[in-house]
Every structure is written in structure tokens, then in C-alpha cells.
Subunit: 357 residues, 4 copies
């Protein structure tokens, strides 16, 4: 079912870009856990639009209201429902698009699935806006993980062809995440960050968009968590991550680069460090046989360039059945990657917390 995720912690998301509200139901959290909702709001603000000159000028506060599951600031064992009202919507922008599917958007596929009855306004429930409830759930899970010494962090790994430094997959730690969080543009190497920002400006100034990648790591996870075959950590993380619109690829550890190597280069020898069994390198990305190895879990996601661009594009009118030209109006991000960073953290946190419950 498209709106549900998880086994032990069950997330249900609902809403469309321009429905009265969107929201999340999070079931399966143990009772008696204090949730810091200011921190949840701060996490969600990282995803919200309108924060910098680089993103869409739409202003959506993404203020959530807790309807259930919390008593005196603590979980009570009942599902938490959080609702975010859709306020700043301009549905008129989309009216003429009903018959004109935007290239590389879900419009055409959704039309075919739903016989044209899908909510076209703002992309309906295919909208990137549906990552707001994901971020809510992830922000709650992150607090639970922290109480177990597990931390999740991510950074922009590339914008277009400009690459950030990578996490050191052996030593990456909470301090690295904190450092990135303190920056307005979430990268490791600020100089590269400047080049990335320039890429985004350039794309915007030419009425275009640009893609990128995000690298995410989970640290503090002990060895032995996960399952083989169909319920491995790679299966579950990828299954959650592809829930984020625009993600078109994922790789764990050395990933595609590792596929070019010899076993002797890619294998990670076990060694003792301070009496603890670790691997000398971490090409396996912290996951062996679907199960955590105790090393940092490290993965990278590819995000396509935002399909909404200001340039004229070709499409086919679904009503008249004729080819037409289309210029996508509305207010859009020239690059979705910065706002995807917390979404990817949230998806990872959700999966890890689900395993640990």
C-alpha cells in the first residue's frame, strides 16, 4: 500500500499537495518517550520551502499539529498523528496542466493509473510535499535513535558535476553531522559548496534545473541488526528512500565504483582497534548479508534534476491527443537536492528505528 511503511514502527502518510492538509500517523512507538517537538520543527524546517534564495519562493511554514498519541509531551503507546495544513497554495497555476502532462513528472503515469481522476493540483499525492510527513516521522525516530546512541547525518555529495568531499566511511561520526548541520548549505567542503551553489544559480538563471547526489551515514549501530535476503538493511533502506520523489538511484558502500574493482581491493579486512572488531576499510557500507557490521552505514542517492523548468517543452494533450508546447509555470526549486538532505536522513532513521524496536 503506497501510504504505509514499516513493520515495527508503522508510518502512514496522507494528503495531496493542495488538499486541506497532509499528515503522518506513526504507530508502534513505545510509551513513555519524551519527544522534543521544537527539535522536530527544526528538523522539518530544513525541508520546508522558501528558506533561501536557492529554493522556491513559496512560503510554507510546515507547522504541524499533534492530534493524538502524545500526553504531557510523551508518547502514550497510541499512534501519533501529526497534521500539516496546506495554506499557501495557488491551485490556479495548475489548471491548464490537467490535459498537458509535464515531462518527467508523474502527471501522465498518474492519469493512466487513475483514469484522470487523480488530483493534479501541485502533483497531488505524488508531490514532493509528501516528504513533510516523512520528515516528521523521521525527526521523531531520530530522537529515539539518539537515546540509543545511534546518529544519522547526510550532506549534499554533488550538484551537477561538482562534488563535495565524502564522509570517511570508517571514522564518520556525530561531530561530522553536527558540523554539517551548523552550515546554511549542508556540505563538508565549503569551497565545493560555493561551486555547487553557483551551479544552482546558473540553472535557475537559465530557467533550468540541476540534479545531484546526497550521501548519508548512520553511526553507532551495533553489529547484528538486520536480516538476509528480502528483509536486509539495503532492501529496506532503498525501499524507503525511493519513497522520496526524484531519487533515481542508490548505492551502499563502494557501490557502483566498487563493481569496477577486484575483490582484493574491495574486501574489507577485519582488524582489532582498541579491542573491538572493526573493518580496516568500509567498502561494504556497514552492511554485510543485509545485516549491520558495526561499521558506519553509508549510502549515496542520485536525485534527478527537478523536472519543473521554465523552458518550453514538448508534450501531448491528453484530451485532444495532439502534440503541444508547454511552459511549466508556478514556483519551483531549481534544485531539490538541498531540501532532500533531511528527507533522506528521515527515511534512513525510520528504517533503523524500525529494526531496533
Amino acid at each position: 500500500m503506497s501510504c504505509n511503511f514499516g513493520n515495527n514502527i508503522k508510518l502512514t502518510v496522507f494528503g495531496q499537495s493542495h488538499s486541506t492538509a497532509i499528515g503522518a500517523v506513526v504507530d508502534g512507538l513505545p510509551a513513555g518517550i519524551k519527544i522534543d517537538f521544537d527539535r522536530v520543527a527544526a528538523f522539518m524546517a530544513r525541508r520546508a520551502p522558501g528558506q533561501s534564495e536557492l529554493s522556491t519562493p513559496r512560503k510554507e511554514a510546515d507547522e504541524f499539529k499533534i492530534l493524538s498519541g502524545i500526553v504531557d509531551g510523551m508518547t502514550c503507546g497510541a499512534p501519533i498523528c501529526a497534521v500539516i495544513e496546506n495554506t499557501n497554495t495557488r491551485s490556479g497555476d495548475y489548471d491548464k496542466l490537467r490535459a498537458l502532462p509535464r515531462p518527467s513528472h508523474s502527471d501522465y503515469a498518474a492519469f493512466m493509473k487513475h483514469n484522470g481522476f487523480n488530483d493534479i493540483r501541485g502533483g497531488g499525492n505524488f508531490s514532493g510535499r509528501m516528504t513533510a510527513p516523512l520528515c516528521f516521522a523521521g525527526a521523531v525516530c531520530i530522537q529515539i535513535l539518539e537515546s540509543m546512541g545511534v546518529y544519522v547525518g547526510a550532506h549534499i555529495a554533488s550538484i551537477g558535476k561538482v562534488e563535495d568531499d565524502r564522509f570517511d566511511p570508517v571514522s564518520v561520526c556525530k561531530a561530522d553531522f553536527d558540523s554539517i548541520l551548523s552550515k546554511p548549505f549542508p556540505v563538508i567542503n565549503d569551497r565545493q559548496g560555493e561551486f555547487m551553489r553557483k551551479e544552482i544559480y546558473d540553472a535557475r538563471s537559465s530557467a533550468d534545473s540541476v540534479g545531484g547526489t546526497v550521501e548519508c551515514a548512520v553511526v553507532g549501530l551495533k553489529a547484528g541488526i538486520g536480516d538476509p535476503i528480502f528483509d536486509g538493511m539495503e532492501n529496506r533502506i532503498s525501499s524507503a528512500i525511493f519513497g522520496i520523489p526524484a531519487v533515481k538511484g542508490i548505492e551502499f558502500g563502494s557501490g557502483f565504483e566498487g563493481s569496477k574493482k577486484r575483490g582484493s581491493e574491495n574486501n574489507d579486512a577485519f582488524v582489532l582497534r582498541d579491542g573491538k572488531i572493526v573493518t580496516e576499510t568500509n567498502n561494504h557500507g556497514g552492511i554485510l548479508g543485509g545485516i549491520s557490521s558495526g561499521m558506519p552505514v553509508v549510502f549515496r542517492c542520485a536525485l534527478k534534476p527537478t523536472p519543473s523548468i521554465g523552458k518550453e517543452q514538448n508534450t501531448v494533450n491528453l484530451v485532444s491527443g495532439e502534440e503541444e508546447k508547454l511552459v511549466v509555470g508556478g514556483r519551483h526549486d531549481p534544485c531539490i537536492v538541498p531540501r532532500a538532505v533531511p528527507c533522506i536522513e528521515a527515511a534512513a532513521a525510520l528504517v533503523i528505528a524500525d529494526y531496533l524496536m
Copy 2:
């Protein structure tokens, strides 16, 4: 649960590399479908070891026996159970490995999960051998898909740094798959195939292994199949594909390469071809918003080099707690990629058939 996959067609796999048998239970198939088990056997033979000088010299016929679900060669609505006996096992090879986790194998992670009670022989149920039941289920699903005009095919896209040609993502069709199937080495460009084989020989002759990538396509799928958010086609395909040991990455359409591009380059314009709405290019890999667009579904997977190599490696003795040298014995593939090709087809077929039931 690690051994289950699917919603409408439910696959359960069981067994360990050296247990009495391994097998698959496939539930949810409609009654009255004729299954050609010779074709199923032929499909499974593509995965079986010992077929060429390039793979492990172990001979396992992978002969399956149907225990249930079939009456007079037809499905009867009850789950199909197929069992494959494990015959040619040499458990002795693994005895000394119990305390010595092989680098980049599941041994250490499984030991930590199961407190040392996991079946170490041949990798237990983390073994690549568990893809045999997956191939059984996939071969059955492929026949069902064919009756609906849907075809699945794959080829080796690279070995080490040697790359095959790519499928044309717009025009790839059953004839392309048939052409690849007719070859002993499943590539598009045979000259590149020769270089790939050389890579594998070189790896083997240096007691090493090498990784690679596989490209897979599904054609004939009409638009409108799938779901958004957590149950999209990318979520489900990736979730199945990571069930194949050694897969460490997956990308759909232009994937990681697409993340480097501008929207104007990566977007796929809608056009009319013979009165049918198609996209001019197929950077989206046939999936938009988690739903099929009617274009070929195209994805690539990264497979790490086989972790079992003949070279001496470092590890830590789990009993003594001391560092040790290890040379992995046994009979292993210098490159798992050729045998992974049908596994990836099987996983894709399983997901697509699941959606279509």
C-alpha cells in the same frame, strides 16, 4: 520477514547452502495456468554453477521437484512448492572458518545476529545459492508475464571497467533479449564480451575476483501500473534486487549519470509515435512517480567482486579474539556477474507479476 516477498504473489524461500534442501513456495498464482517446467529448468540452468570455465567448478544441477500446487501441469490455486536438494556439498571446507569471518562475507554480521548459532556451512542462508529458489519463482512469473505480452531481459553491462553497450532505453524489445539469450556470454557487444571474459580470467589467474554491473529491462508494460511513495516500482524492484547477495547499488533510467545533468537535458518530452503517447527519450527508466509510463523499465545494478578470493587476507578470530591470516578455500566464482543475470531478471519479473495480479 527475511524469507517472504510480495503482496499478490507471495514468495517464501527457505534453505541454507548445505541444508538437506532449499526451496520456494509461490502463493497467489491464479489457477489454470499451464507452466512449462522445461523452460523453468532452462532458466534456472543459466544461474546454476559449473556451466563454464569462468564459474565455480562445483556442479549443482539445481534440479527441482514440485511438491504441490500443480495438477496436470497447471496451477491449481494452491501454493507451488519446489524443492532443490543440496547434493554436491563439501562442508569440510568451511569447518575452520567458523571462528574466522571471511572479509566482506556475511559471516561476522550473521555471527553477531545469531550469537554464533547461524549455519556457517557455505554461508548458510546468506549463500548466493538462495537465489536458486528466487530463479524458480521468477521463471514461473516470466511465463505468466509473457502471456500478457510483458518481457524481461538483462545483460552484463560491465565487468570491472569493461563496459558493454547499453540497451536503447526507448526501443529495447523482446528481440534484443532473445539475441542475448542465444549467446553463451550474455552481452550485447560480443567484442566487449571478449574483453570482459578476459577480465574474469585475469582475476581468476591472480586468485582474485572482479565485480560488474547488470542492466535489466522490462518491455510491454502498459502505463499506469504501480503506486506512489512507499510502494512505487522503484521501491519494490530495489527491495527485491537487494535480495540478491553482492548487489550494492541500483539506478533507474539515467540514474547517477542523470543526477549530473540539467532538467532540460534529462527531461523526457512526450510525443506521439503511431498515434501512441511515448517519451522521446527515456531518462526516467519507464517509471514516473513510482508508476509505469509505458516506456521500457530500465535499471542497472552494481555487483561487488566476489568476496571469496584465494589471496591471503586479514581477519579476527571470533573465539580467540586475535588477528589472524586467512586464505579462503573452497570452490568459488571469480566473478558472480554472469550468474546474477537471470537472478536479476527473476527479481524484476516477480515484482512486475506481483503488480499485475
Copy 3:
């Protein structure tokens, strides 16, 4: 997961008796279905408290607000979220109960599960109030079923020892349901209904409560719907029905009475009626091997007397660990059975619609 139900139509319920709101998310409905929300409201009103002198004097309008999933009065393929605010709550009534579990309520079991962090106010998410979102989902499903010629109806089959007539399990039809719906007290035999009402009055006037049974039927369902073994219609209906607090038993067809009979008495011969294959009797309750037989699905549920009574009862103080006397205050139904009738219809409709999607 306690808050989710269904495979094809997925219901998620959330909320506690005294949380800000309760609600339902219904996923999996096809797009383009017109929903008559006035009828939904009318259905929910049958469950709402405060409607007659027989039920609790609490007035809760159970007015719902649609947050998502509906565009221009029609489903759009995205999940429907409906929210019902909790307005008329008097939490003070429950304050002293925190340490004093009410006999035959969930208080003690919930306390033990949640280490005392459960929401005690009004029974938290164990409250009968959680059947309001169930009724919302059921009312939507009933409209979908009606468009397929499938109808669901129920009546009070007994209050205490006073029994209503039974549905004729062979000929029960929509007209029978309409007749019951037109009455203020949902029984077949109004004279028996008067005796039942007297039972409830008597219970209330002695600060006591009384139990009863509800009989439910589904008509218009063609033969061949369902599954054997673990996913049969009896499994799924019972699984949903026990989601209604106070239900402690369920029987299909001749049920417990049938267990006293000979096969020759209980078997239902197949005969032709107007060229159609039917059974002469319907002791099987319309379900054979977990699958619909084409005859009316008929089942009865036992509901315990409301555990909240005005009489003094014994309990144990969970804080002091000492035995205490307790008089449950607040405003409660002397008999929950009348209000349970639509809940049982809703649960049945949900299961049947889930099978038919």
C-alpha cells in the same frame, strides 16, 4: 500493528478518547468514485452517543472533516483522511482512576503493557470511541459495495436473555436491512425490541449494564470470493470484528448451535432455484472453505455488558498495591449493543470491500 487493517483497502485509525482528535486514513480506494458524505454522516450518527434515552447522555456529534483524498466529492486515488475532533470531553472524571483499574476494562492490561504511560483519559485508544473512525471507513466501503450490488445489514439479536427473531439465512435481503434501518431501535421483531429496551432500562435503573448479541448479514456477494486457511472470510471478518471493544465471541452460520448437530442436519444441500445453484439451507453462513458460496454471509457477535457500572466494585490500587473499592463515575451506556450495530456493519463492509478491490 494495532491501528492498521486490510490488504487492498488499508485502514489506519488513530486517536484516543480525549486526544485533540481521532481519525481514519483509508488507502486503496479506486479513483473516480463519488462518495455521498451526508450518508456517511448518517451512518456515523447511528453509532454516535447521546441519541436516545438509552445511551450515554454525552453529546458527541462525531462530525468529521475530510483532510485529503477527495476532490470535487470524488476519490482521487490518494488516501482519504477524515478527522473527528474530540470536543465534549470531561477528563476530570478519570483523574482518580489512574491508579484504580476499572474491572473488565483495559486499564490494567494497558498499564502493564505501557508501564503506566498509556493515556488513561476515557480509556485512551482502547476506548469505544475508536469505532467512530471504523464507522467512517465502513460507511465509505458500504457505498462502494452498493455500487456492486452488495449490501450489509445488522440488527440487535439479543439483549440479556431477550432474543430478537433471526434473519432468514437463505432469503435475507436488502429490504430486510432497510426495514431495520427505518426503526429507532434496530430489531426485526418490535415486540421483542420493547422487551429489550426494558432490559436496558432495568439495567440502568439498577446502576448496572447488560450485554447482548448482534446478527449481521452480507447479501449480493457472488460465489468464489475469499481464500482458504489463514485468509478465509471467517478469519478476516473475525479479525476485524474483534477490533470492536466488548466483542467476546463470533459465530458464522449455525455456529455453536450447529456444533451440537449431526452432519445430516447441518449440511446444506445444493439445489437449483431459478436456474441458479444455491443451498437449500444456510447453516454454513455463506462461507465454505473460507470462500463465499453465493448465499448470504451471516454471523453473530457476542458483546459483553458494558464494564462501566455505577455499582461499587473491588479493585487494586496500582500505586499503593492495596485493595480498594471503586465506583466508576462518568457518563456511560447501560448497554453498548445498539451503538455496536453500525460498527459491526462497518467492520464487515471493510472486509468484503477489501476482498473485492
Copy 4:
């Protein structure tokens, strides 16, 4: 999916009455648990046919073979697959039945579901024989439960109108179960047992069959296990129990009888016994709000009389479309209730173990 059950312990059953074999896959058991397979066999023998003059003269040893999941007699974390060959089948008995659905059997419903492609031999996978794999899984779970101090037991509560004594729902304990297990006919009151046996003889001698009820209890379960609403213990137990063919009703605690009572009669006061909080009576059957109360879980199931009887019955020929007379041949139980006793224990054990994993 009809062949799967469970969340943490996942059971998959496969097979038909006359397929090559039937079997069970049990996933989710922790590694390192010693399983006594002689005890498993002894448990399964209680269900197997041909044990007494009261049951079918078919002899099926129900000998199982372990294909996977066990190393050195212990679980290894991989799914256990057990296979039972179907040996003593006489398919010829059923040949003429293909067109003639047996009254109150699954034949007609299965025919309609599967368009006539279902396996008619011996009832296919609707056969009571499918409870053999359930018993295998239950017998394994029972051993796991015992290691936690949890015990499951059942007895024949009635045959026809002859009733056994009931378990004392407050004090029932393992010794009661052991006492019943030591008897050839599993009842509490042996004198009543004699009358029951007479009922069965009488039914058989008149070419008829007779139904009955089974009472089951689970003791040693601490308070706080379970979930509210859709995942309560009653939901899950009933969902498993209806997987046993012939079950047509289930009630927990005082059940249907309780529905006739006043709250003041049916409520279970909390009291202290030896410093422990218990209830004075146990009309709630050990479950409050879907969660265990710490009192014995007690439920009763209604089983219909075996539909296979030697008397002539009316049916309709599915091919000719005409009414016909039918005498069911083959070898059948005049009463399935004695053999259902371990099946019901197995289903209960499976659910409880699933909660406790």
C-alpha cells in the same frame, strides 16, 4: 495471502491433500534453540488419522522431514522447512466428485473461485490435512513457549449435546493439561467422555457425523502482551483458529453466555492473591482491550459436524447443471473434534509465540 500467518514468527503452509507432499516453513525463530523433534512427532500424532476406532481408517503416519533451518538439532536462524509426504492417498475415490460438489464442503466455493482448476482430490488445499503443517509449527512454538513458562492445553468441551466439564478459568494450570494429555480421549470428565464416544459411535453407525466444541487455555502468560483494536489477542487468535477447517465459531471467556449477563455479574474484580494482582473471576478470558491480563487465556471453538457423511444427499452437477443425488464415498471421520484438539493448541501457540518474539 492464504498460506501465510504471523508477524514475528511467520508460518507458510503448502500442499494439497493428494499432492506429492505438504509442508510448513517457519521463519523468525531465534537461533540456538534446541528442538525436541520426538516431541514434535508425538504432538503431530495426536492429529494424525487412523489412531483409534473413532477416526478415519486411513493411516497416515504424518512423518515429517526437516529440509532446512536446523543444525545439530538447533535452530540456526534460517527458516525451518518441514515436509510431510502424502503416501496413502486413494485419489480414485474423488474422481466422480469433480462435477458434484459435496454439501457443506469447500468444493463448490473452490470451483467458483478457481474456475474449476482447483485440485479436487481429497479437498485439495482446503483439506483438513493442511492442519498437519500447522501442528508442526505449533509443536515447535509450544517448546519455545514452555521455555518461557507458558503452557497451552485443550480438551473436547462437547460432542453433540454432551458436555465435558470446563476448565476453571481462574486456576487452570499445566497439571490440568498433563492430565488430559495422559488420556486416550482428551476430556476432563471421563464419564462424560464415555457419553461423547457413544455419540460418535452412534453417528458413525448411522452413516452420519457429529460436531462439537473444544476449549483451549494458555497459562503462564504475563499481563501486558498484545495490542488494542485490530491486533488484539482475540483478533489474532480467532484469525488463526478459523484457519482450521470446520471451525465456525469462537468465544473468549464467558463469550456468548456472558452477553446474557449484567455487568455486575460479568465484571471481574481485581484482587490481591499472594501479593499479586489477579481477577477474582475470569469472565474476560484473560484478555482485556486485546491485551493479556495475566489470567489464563480461555476460549472455546465450535466445530461443525464433518460434512462427509455416508447418507445420500442432494447436490447439483456443475457440468450438466442438473440436480443429482450424491453419496460421499471415501474414508472419513464421523467426528473431527478429537483430532482438532491439537490443531487448536497449535494455532494458539503460534499466536502467543508470535507476540512474545
